[in-house]
């Protein structure tokens, strides 16, 4: 934190320079005309600022001693403008996700979007484009974490840094993650260095209805730059964890309603009924009002039963009752899946199932619901007596049954910990090790996540027209040994630095 604090004490211009990223920080200075990441592995943290103009060098020295992840990363000239220039990434192995692998491919990033993708022969490089030589590198779309708590926590054990959940009540649909999202969190800088470019941010899992999620990109000037979608999904949970009993999570010490699954379900059903009723009355009142205004009558007659006061809690449930947005239901056990799906079907909710790591006994049933499933954590422990790989093989087993799956970064043994979100690709790799076809594994952390949350046309694959969220790495993205060399978010080469790389560099001297 010391680094960040000292940075924030600098003049605003410097902060802006930092926040706007290395690509733009380096404007005006060139060394060579192409970017070459291939030799970056030799000493990835050795900075090379000697050839920079003094003013720029000063900026770097003061604010970010060792800004660059690579000694040989050479960003070519860019005009002093806010929009990133055209970038042509050539010679790489493109994992498109949507249409297979392209060896020796070229991808063009322009105006924050992918403007061309194909083989070297197919794609013409626009004149003036900055050429990034990706020979020997793998190029793939930015990874998307379907469940995170970025910006809702900093140091897990330090309660003052946590805004994970409002525990005063069990039904909290009117909690909006965007009200707590702290976009400057260090967790985001750490995760994006490993190619995570987008994420769903959800509250923690102790409430039956915990609030509404946001969809973010992991880079931007401020909160509004980074939030791509507000209230994109309702975070719902069902099972043992939400019961308000002694020793359990939730408000206060002793047991209180709902202390059993019977209570949890009844409370949920009543909440949705209340919201339905509220919606009906509100719609009726609106219709009546329209009717009256059509006839030129005054509104507010006696007998008008419209809710005079807005009820934010019930109002928050309406888009979900109408099936306009998905409800992400966190549930672990097979028998809990059956109960909560009954409720979801009763209210025609548009469901995304989440976790399901102890539901091996109902996989056929889960597939029969034809709802997307987020699997996480793949590292959850099986039950005693179950085979050691009962959870590892879950993505493969569900995919085999035709379910659309996504894989989350959630760590085992507790609620989501986005400190380890950078390990998202390894969770997918583990699923591949235990039977999921490779491309399905990659899709489960890219296109499939984007589809589930309504961003499928903007993100998730290397296709023309999509946002230029692109990762360059020196190998298989799902392998722990692979080093990510450069991440582009909306076409901007983001600074490959975090507080962790700065500490590394400081103590490597």
């Amino acid at each position: 934190m010391r680094f960040l604090l000292s940075l924030l004490e600098r003049p605003p211009s410097l902060r802006a320079a930092f926040l706007s990223g290395a690509g733009r920080l380096l404007t005006g200075e060139v060394e060579g005309s192409a970017v070459d990441f291939r030799h970056a592995n030799s000493r990835p943290w050795a900075p090379q600022v000697s050839k920079l103009r003094p003013a720029i060098a000063w900026t770097l020295t003061i604010a970010l001693t060792c800004l660059f992840a690579s000694s040989s990363v050479q960003i070519a000239a860019q005009p002093e403008s806010a929009s990133p220039q055209v970038v042509a990434i050539t010679g790489g192995k493109l994992l498109t996700v949507s249409h297979g692998t392209i060896e020796n491919g070229t991808i063009i990033l322009a105006d924050g979007k992918i403007s061309a993708v194909g083989t070297a022969a197919e794609v013409k490089i626009p004149p003036g484009a900055q050429i990034v030589d990706a020979k020997g590198l793998t190029v793939y779309p930015g990874l998307i974490d379907p469940e995170s708590n970025f910006g809702l926590t900093e140091i897990s054990a330090d309660q003052m840094t946590n805004d994970l959940e409002e525990r005063s009540d069990e039904i909290m649909p009117h909690m909006h993650v965007y009200d707590a999202f702290h976009s400057e969190t260090e967790l985001i800088a750490v995760a994006r260095l490993n190619g995570i470019t987008n994420a769903v941010v959800a509250p923690s899992t102790g409430d039956s209805i915990a609030g509404q999620d946001i969809f973010i990109q992991l880079y931007g000037r401020d909160r509004d730059d980074m939030i791509m979608g507000r209230d994109i999904a309702l975070a719902m949970n069902y099972g043992a964890e939400q019961r308000r009993r002694d020793g359990g999570r939730g408000a206060g010490g002793g047991s209180s309603y709902p202390s059993t699954r019977m209570g949890l379900i009844t409370q949920l059903r009543q909440s949705f009924l209340d919201a339905q009723d509220y919606m009906t009355r509100r719609d009726a009142a609106a219709a009546k009002k329209d009717d009256k205004s059509d006839k030129g009558e005054k509104s507010g007659d006696k007998g008008d039963k419209s809710p005079s006061k807005r009820d934010l809690k019930l109002e928050a449930l309406i888009p979900y009752l109408k099936g306009e947005r998905p409800v992400v239901i966190g549930v672990y056990e097979g028998y809990d899946v059956e109960v909560i799906m009954g409720l979801a079907q009763e209210f025609h909710l548009k469901v995304i199932l989440n976790h399901v790591t102890a539901a091996q006994d109902v996989l056929d049933k889960i597939a029969s619901y034809h709802v997307p499933v987020i699997i996480g954590s793949i590292y959850d422990a099986p039950r005693a007596g179950e085979r050691f790989d009962a959870v590892y093989s879950l993505p493969a087993e569900l995919a085999k049954r035709g379910a659309k799956i996504a894989i989350s970064s959630a760590d085992a043994g507790g609620p989501v910990s986005s400190h380890s979100s950078r390990n998202l690709p390894y969770a997918a790799g583990f699923a591949v090790a235990y039977g999921l076809p490779y491309y399905e594994g990659l899709k489960a952390i890219t296109q499939d996540v984007a589809d589930m949350f309504g961003f499928g046309d903007k993100l998730g694959s290397l296709d023309v027209g999509k946002m230029a969220n692109v990762v360059l790495a020196d190998g298989d993205p799902l392998d722990v040994r692979t080093d990510v060399k450069q991440v582009y978010i909306q076409g901007v080469a983001i600074p490959m630095v975090s507080r962790q790389t700065r500490l590394r560099d400081e103590y490597s001297k």
Binding site: A384, G385, Y426, Y434, D479, Q500
Partner: protein, 447 residues
Amino acid sequence: MHLKRPLRVPSFAACLILAPLCAALTAAAQSAPDIVFKNATVMTASHGTIQHGSVWVHEGKIAGVGATIDAPSSATTVDATGLWLTPGIIDPHSHSALDSDVNEATSPVTPSMHMIDAFDNRSADLYRALAGGVTTELLLHGSANMIGGQAVVIKNKFGFDRDAMLFPNAPGSIKFASGENPKRVYGSRDQLPSTRMGNFEVMRMAFEDARHYMADWDAYDAKVKKGDKDATAPKRDLKLEALADVLRGKLFVQIHCYRADEFLTEEAIAHEYGYKIRAFHHALEMYKVADKIAADQTAIATFSDWWGFKDEARDAIPWNAVMSMRKGVKVALKSDSDDHIRRLNSEAGKMVRYGGATEDEAIRMVTLNPAWIIGVDDRTGSIDVGKDADLVLWNHDPLSTYARAQKVYIDGDLFFDASLPGLGTTHFNGVMHDSRGFGSDDEEDGQ
């Protein structure tokens, strides 16, 4: 086999035939047949990787390793074409199989606690670790106390009874802790310690008591040696006796410690009272002072890439292991988790990326180096002639994300075989015990 009456041998000739047969049967019961692994990628951990290598196992020990070896033709051959062979994975920091009896968090000094008294040899944690290739574990007391209890070293012979799972004649270790956990646990009860000043003073006071106790016993022993028949033995005190063992160098000191300043303080106290620190555990800020700690020959057992879970993990960086190693510190990776213990091999793989560990260096972090921390590196942790045949056969490079343990051998005996239906265990049948919780220091200390 129980016979109600002795066999009546009808003739001398039959005796001649039966005697060698019986002898052969007895010998077979005593030791498993020889095994030869052929055509494996052998990662020895001590002397590099041998492509298309062979390893010969005789009477539970490694009898040969190399490109070609002279094994008897009677040996069982395991065709390891396309497979990798490594030493068994060793976890120098586990709280598995203790049924949450990890912390006797009722006093900051509890050196007379013995983890063996809580060891549940039927815990599912052991099975899952075995399936991840783990053959040896150091089961440690938790981190609530500045001076915790004494560890137990096990071989993961899942299915055997408790005593058969103990690592024979392994040196004793004791767990110390520092930093946030002791001060939080006792501070929250308005007890000493509630600060880091309190933490370390609790230790010093304990060692002062131990010195006094040791002096009383030394005086008594001297009297006895002189033949003084009136000498009366001091009263035995289990707590002080254990601390005296620390001061006498009889126990390896394993310290839970995160911050750079605290490594220095711990070393200073160790120098003051004359004991050595075997390893700092967690040690997430070691990269800041590694050169100084290397001089004391203290190793570290660290996480690969955990950070930010508590304030003293704020400065954790994934390059810690390799940066510390380059400055001369012996580095092991450990789990401190019933989850991560199942994939320590790929945790080691991360070190190839974070700082450029060689394959050899990376695999050593989960085999030979943790063996040294436990004090059993002369017996296990590498594929060398004379060592215990603790071996794992993998379907893929063990440092990659994709490796699955195919077969796990301990002392030359097969304990896990993924190709078997059901659990894949060869010696276990019965009821496994489930574990609750995460099996971690930071989860088990009453947080």
